[in-house]
């Protein structure tokens, strides 16, 4: 029996990501890639419509809530949701789970699209990094990024209402950088240490891109 167990755990590590995505109810959830990442990779690599549909069901109501939070009326918020989800489909090739969880990637698309619509032109964004197409996916790094995102969510949950409101305002684009830096007196230590840890991981990952 022991050998069978070992085989299973070895096989788990080499499972293709699309299969991992279907294993929703296993007990060691935290050791596996999230459904969202698996869906996004299926969209990126195979143009998988079922996976895109699942992503839509997960993110569209959250995006709508997020956009309406800053006072956008419902019908306009839906236009943004539509625009963002189409951009997710069209730019799927740029998704890199070694550097961003799906939620963070979609967050940036949503902010960029909202600014572009207001300004009626594309805002300048940093040059895209492209990984060597021959590079093998690094499951450990992908997992580390997801765990980091989970811990950030956990840290957010520990904030009181007014702290949470300030963080939300900052990331919904309602505070200037001067206003954000003036908030340093707030007890947001957990968030900041999480950002620092996330940063260390990302910096390590980005070393591979340095020329």
């Amino acid at each position: 029996m022991l050998t069978i167990d070992l085989d299973i755990s070895a096989a788990m590590h080499s499972l293709p990501v699309t299969v991992v995505g279907e294993r929703k109810h296993v007990s060691h959830n935290e050791l596996e890639q999230s459904r969202e990442t698996a869906w996004m990779i299926a969209v990126r690599d195979h143009g998988d419509r079922a996976a895109f549909s699942a992503l839509f069901d997960h993110f569209a109501p959250r995006l709508k809530g997020f956009v309406m939070r800053s006072g956008t009326p419902s019908h306009q918020a839906e236009e943004v949701v539509q625009d963002v989800m189409l951009t997710v489909w069209r730019k799927a090739a740029l998704f890199d789970p070694h550097r961003a969880p799906v939620s963070g990637w979609i967050y940036q698309i949503a902010r960029n699209r909202q600014i572009d619509i207001i300004r009626k032109e594309s805002r300048p964004i940093p040059e895209e990094l492209r990984e060597d197409p021959a590079a093998e996916p690094d499951a450990g790094q992908i997992l580390a990024i997801e765990q980091e995102a989970q811990k950030l969510k956990g840290a957010l949950a520990t904030l009181n209402d007014s702290q949470r409101e300030i963080i939300e305002k900052a990331y919904m684009g309602e505070l200037t950088h001067q206003e954000i830096s003036a908030q340093t007196g707030l007890p947001l230590g957990t968030i900041k240490s999480r950002i620092r840890l996330g940063l260390q991981r990302l910096r390590h990952e980005l070393k591979d891109f340095e020329r």
Binding site: R62, A100, H177
Partner: protein, 211 residues
Amino acid sequence: MSTISHHIPDSMLAAYAAGNVPAPFGAVIASHVSLCPTCRAALEAHQMLGGAILETADEVSVSRTLKSDVLSQLDAPVMPKPVFQRSGVFPGPVMQVLKGRAPRWKSLGMGIQQDILMDGDEGSMRLLSIPPGQAVPDHSHSGLELTLVLQGSFSDQTGRFGVGDVEVADEAIEHTPTADEGPLCICLAATDAPLRFNSFLPRLLQPLFRI
């Protein structure tokens, strides 16, 4: 690349991720991030936190037709937006603002040349080319000025700035940036307010040259 020692302040990276910086600053930040893995990692950590906020946003159900509308557009042909690549010393975001053209240098005298790329309500942005040993006229600001070095280097009262370094100067700083010996110093400089000059003549010339 690892020689970059002057970075974008963290609060500004957060505001940039959220889309709340004046357009001229946004272009400088995107350019710096294109050159600086440290700030890219910091920006991506902010995106991750934005994603955590999106992930935990209150869900608002979308109208029933929204998903079918989006799915029906997945195959619609789209005009891909041009992606501007780095060209010589100019990072992709600068090429985007230039719309792919070469800079149109105009002489400011004393061998200094400039090309104004943005000038509007949100501030101004220009490329500056300064010969070695030449000082940019002593000036202070009514707002904030970001200066990113693209070629060569300059020094002023606050330190030395080489390729990729960005100087953040507020109204408290009265400085005289002087190009170091070596190649022409080419900078991308952005302000959120017009510059003021301290000596009489440049002040007269200011409306003329819009520096």
